[in-house]
């Protein structure tokens, strides 16, 4: 039986014909690594791009959000453990070749396609096949990722995907070791640096009080050192799975820490709780609301109004780092 090292994530699992590695989505056949469930998805829903969340890419757009199954992490607080930490096969009931995904997106009036819910690295060949077909149809493709891929895979992602949100869960290795099950944060930080400049990049961090809230300032420093224009989504974590009994983090305390961080990183959003008042884009020069959003539950938001002229602040003309002008929700409706 041949043994092959998986080339996708930094776990570098040894694959055989019988062993699918940690994520269970790849195997080795005749010495080659093969995706076990190509073009298969667990879910497909229509969403505001801000709900996923992407706040600075095609604001207002309608996204076809796809989900798969399996993950290369074992986050103890995972809110999607039913798809991430499971046998992927019975969940992957939607067989959608790229052309069909694109047709769905078009028929539903979507402006782009996003792979979220679980980790894209565990279905990379499928997504790399989808991207050119979607791009040819005028549909940018984006992903949410935990960033734990090998360096050349990060390059591939940066080239294949038009928008990427990387979850940087902490900047201390202890957190990653104890609560995520991988040895180091440095891999994710390296890949964030790789992705920046290759694609539209946003970063997310779930805050668990007492575990990684002390990293807020250091994470802001790290992101700002790459570019202060990178949007950073900070989530008030609602722990589930192995940490379901863990307390919800205090909003005021976290926001106080974020206020200081906003001095160096102006596009910090604080959400994942209903009614959050920190999900709008504030002009860093004049303090006006440039994009007004509301949180309806979940890690993202819904846009309400734009105070922009050519993506410049309508009040002071400051250029805001937003890729693409606001898109009207029903602009592709033809029926």
């Amino acid at each position: 039986m041949t043994h092959v090292e998986c080339p996708f994530c930094e776990r570098r699992c040894t694959l055989t014909e019988l062993s699918g590695g940690f994520c269970q989505t790849y195997q080795a056949i005749d010495g080659a690594v093969v995706e076990r469930f190509p073009h298969r998805y667990s879910s497909s829903v229509i969403s505001h791009i801000e709900a996923i969340p992407f706040y600075h890419f095609q604001p207002g757009s309608r996204s076809l959000m796809l989900g798969g199954a399996g993950c290369n992490f074992d986050c103890h607080y995972c809110s999607n453990a039913y798809v991430a930490r499971c046998d992927p096969e019975p969940l992957l009931t939607l067989h959608l070749p790229p052309e069909r995904v694109v047709r769905f997106a078009d028929q539903a009036g979507c402006h782009n396609i996003t792979f979220a819910v679980n980790e894209p690295t565990v279905a990379l060949p499928t997504l790399l096949a989808l991207s050119p077909v979607a791009r040819a149809a005028g549909l940018p493709v984006g992903v949410l990722t935990n960033g734990y891929m090998q360096p050349d895979v990060a390059v591939q992602m940066g080239e294949a995907f038009d928008f990427v949100n990387v979850s940087l869960k902490a900047i201390n290795d202890d957190f990653y070791r104890e609560y995520v099950g991988v040895p180091a944060a440095s891999v994710i930080m390296r890949n964030i640096e790789t992705l920046h400049g290759k694609t539209h990049l946003e970063v997310s961090t779930p805050v668990v009080q007492g575990l990684n809230d002390g990293d807020i300032s250091a994470i802001a420093d790290f992101i700002a050192s790459i570019s202060p224009e990178i949007p950073w989504h900070v989530f008030r974590l609602l722990p589930e799975y192995k940490m379901a009994d863990y307390e919800r983090p205090p909003i005021e305390a976290i926001n106080t820490a974020l206020e200081a961080a906003r001095e160096k990183l102006p596009y910090i959003y604080f959400g994942n709780f209903v009614g959050s008042q920190w999900v709008s884009t504030i002009c860093p020069r004049c303090g006006s609301v440039a994009v007004e959003r509301i949180n309806l539950g979940g890690c993202g938001a819904k846009p309400l109004t734009y105070h922009l002229n050519d993506n410049r602040c309508a009040a002071c003309d400051y250029a805001l780092p937003i890729a693409g002008e606001p898109i009207t929700w029903n602009s592709k409706e033809v029926m």
Partner: protein, 377 residues
């Protein structure tokens, strides 16, 4: 004005419920609701404690506000049955626990009850895949047994005619001839409506990932427990309740996940059907119960492209598909004090039309907290 008061545990905020924007509000009814929310964090849909939360919260609200009409929705028999491999024995035990909570509420509050079980379950039989169709498919929701189909090709229609799990296929006109109804309903109605056989669920471009274990039975009758008189159909419950409210304090109690086969109290069977259509848990069933009007008289048909309404300017952003608060609900028609508490998010406040509606804020089983919708005028 309608105020939305959101509590996510140790943090509250108030919004203009129609626009979703934050507001500062000073109103005794809002203050009262804030205290109730703070005292009763929601335990979650799958913990088995949600129905106890309904009773605790309802008793507290009754104590503080003293309404004459209350709507309660008990939903914790629904979620574990649909989304977990619960045995029938476990389900029977859950039913006992839920009705203990219903009984506790009635014993301690003194309301005259109107209790409706919203239907039984059948084992999940399988998915009906619509991903191969060339037309546009809409099959949203947690367990869609209807799918809308637009721009269908002849091949689509012939495929559906032979597909296992498909019970019926209608054109919009054929449906309208049989069911009638309001113009708004048909303005949104899909060109074709596909109906699944009992036990089957459609799977298409807008489908979730959670595995299913049971799905709602196509119950033609529902159990109704009340001493207020005999009625025939689901659409008679609102009238019965309003009539009784002229002389008594009445609680309309909707219990999801129990039907005539599993309802533990003596009951009268009432029709849960219109022609071949049977109601199951969702906006149309709740609206039929609280407005007295069948689903074809409301602007939310099955299989419609719900997402088209979800633009930046959609009113009531916390109310999912609802673009207005239904005007003909019991709460909206009753002049006295009214309140609601529900383990069924969104539907509780939308169909109650009451002065103060408190519900869990859960979306796709994620527990975000609790919300009150408070009328200040």
């Amino acid at each position: 004005m309608e105020i939305g008061l959101i509590d996510v545990v140790e943090w509250q905020t108030a919004v203009d419920f129609r626009t979703g924007r934050p507001v500062v509000v000073d109103h005794p009814r809002v203050d009262l609701a804030a205290e109730v929310l703070r005292a009763h964090p929601y335990p979650g849909d799958l913990t088995g404690e949600g129905d106890r939360w309904v009773t605790n919260t309802a008793l507290d609200l009754n104590e503080r506000y003293a309404p004459d009409f209350m709507l309660l929705t008990y939903a914790n028999l629904y979620f574990p049955a649909v989304f977990s491999p619960l045995s029938e024995g476990e389900r029977a035990a859950h039913i006992v626990q839920t009705f203990e909570q219903v009984e506790r509420f009635l014993n301690e509050s003194g309301f005259v009850p109107v209790i409706v079980g919203l239907g039984d379950f059948v084992p999940f039989q399988g998915y009906v895949y619509l991903t191969d169709l060339e037309g546009q498919v809409v099959s949203g929701g947690m367990n869609p047994r209807y799918a809308g189909l637009n721009q269908a090709t002849a091949r689509d229609l012939s495929r559906l005619a032979e597909r296992e799990g498909v019970a019926r296929l209608f054109t919009r006109d054929a449906f309208r001839v049989q069911f009638g109804g309001c113009q708004q309903f048909y303005d949104r109605f899909p060109e074709h409506l596909v109906v699944a056989e009992e036990g089957y669920i459609f799977r298409g471009p807008s489908s979730g990932a959670r595995p299913l274990y049971r799905v709602p039975k196509y119950d033609r009758t529902l159990p109704l427990y009340t001493s207020l008189g005999a009625v025939e159909a689901i659409t008679d419950v609102a009238g019965l309740t309003l009539h009784a409210l002229e002389r008594e304090r009445v609680a309309l109690i909707l219990v999801e996940g129990v039907g005539c086969k599993s309802f533990p109290l003596s009951f009268q069977p009432i029709s849960n059907a219109l022609h071949w259509h049977t109601y199951s848990v969702g906006d149309s069933q709740y609206l039929a119960l609280t407005t007295g009007k069948h689903f074809v008289e409301h602007p939310y048909p099955p299989g419609y492209r719900y997402y088209v309404d979800d633009g930046e300017d959609k009113p009531y952003p916390f109310s999912a598909i609802f673009t207005e608060m239904p005007p003909d609900t019991i709460g909206a028609r009753f002049a006295g004090r009214s309140a609601a508490v529900g383990g069924r998010g969104i539907l509780t406040h939308a169909v109650a039309g009451v002065d103060i509606a408190i519900e869990c804020f859960v979306r796709a089983l994620y527990n975000h907290g609790v919300m009150a919708v408070v009328l200040t005028e």
